[in-house]
Symmetry: D2
Subunit: 104 residues, 4 copies
């Protein structure tokens, strides 16, 4: 099976959409789709799973397109950031608390 990055690259190329995918536009698109994801939970914490899956997919798609545009591996940047976050939130200080690291 083709990699997800390759599938997305082909999808965009077939439609000649790369011209619209400047990084700033993709960042706007991530925020727009994040708003639609949030709309699933606007008045109620119980959201329809299929609808959430569809909106989450849209956010992820633009994240992948932005990563590809910048030459980043989406999984790798999550792993890299997790190492930073682990340092900001050591287990003994962060356990069971939603406090921001600058409030420890």
């Amino acid at each position: 099976m083709d990699s997800l990055a390759e599938v997305l690259r082909l999808f965009v190329a077939q439609r000649d959409w790369d011209q619209f995918h400047r990084p700033a536009n993709l960042a706007k698109s991530v925020a727009i789709e994040a708003g639609e994801l949030l709309e699933c939970f606007q008045w109620d914490d119980d959201a329809d799973s299929d609808r959430v899956a569809g909106e989450l997919a849209d956010v992820l798609t633009y994240c992948h397109l932005l990563a590809a545009k910048l030459g980043l591996d989406p999984d790798q940047i999550v792993r890299d950031k997790l190492i930073e976050t682990a340092q900001k939130y050591p287990v003994d200080l962060a356990r069971g608390r939603s406090t921001r690291y600058d409030q420890f």
Copy 2:
């Protein structure tokens, strides 16, 4: 190497953070981080790549946590949605245009 899903699951478990990760809160978190990603491009289309990578990683992290919480495979929902999007945006109608499908 452990899968990204497993690494994230362990990170959260070590900090006992699962209690905060209700789907609605994760959807809010995706939107909050999407705002920070957008901030990289607030006044200028030229953004610092490292900063963008870090903020994009945060958006992706919460997307992965939400997917895991709902039992969804992040890559699979992107592939599934792409099939729907391909039907809404057939190549011959969509090529070279940023028009919404309901305006074709």
Copy 3:
């Protein structure tokens, strides 16, 4: 007392910031600040009132700047939209329900 629109106009003029305030940038700024407002409620529905007031002020400020840039009266567009919304959500159908108008 000067009108709020006039106070904002002067604030921007003194800093020569009008050059940055293209409508697209102001729309991004509204979304960025909306994310910071949402962050007050990220993990908990109880938010600190002063913090909320400050973030809400930031959202409103960029809304006012965008309205001014487009020659719109902020209060008037809210009143105009309310008339449209009242037609979409007639009292007898909408009372006590958070249902979207296209689901009535």
Copy 4:
């Protein structure tokens, strides 16, 4: 003419919608509508003015509802925040620059 705050209060009361308007839900609503405002500028800086006015009105409406819910005067919090911002961005340092205050 009734004040905008009074018009909004009546609109909500007639529909018995106050029960949905918890502050956290209104903050989500501001972010959702901010995403729709941003969508006007997704691929292009030239946006349709009427569409922008309508989406901006939605953001403002939820801002007003949140302010009312918290007992805040929307114009006053903008004025108060402007005084803080003026101190962070003194005219001589900020003039003609979009630099963040913590980078001066």
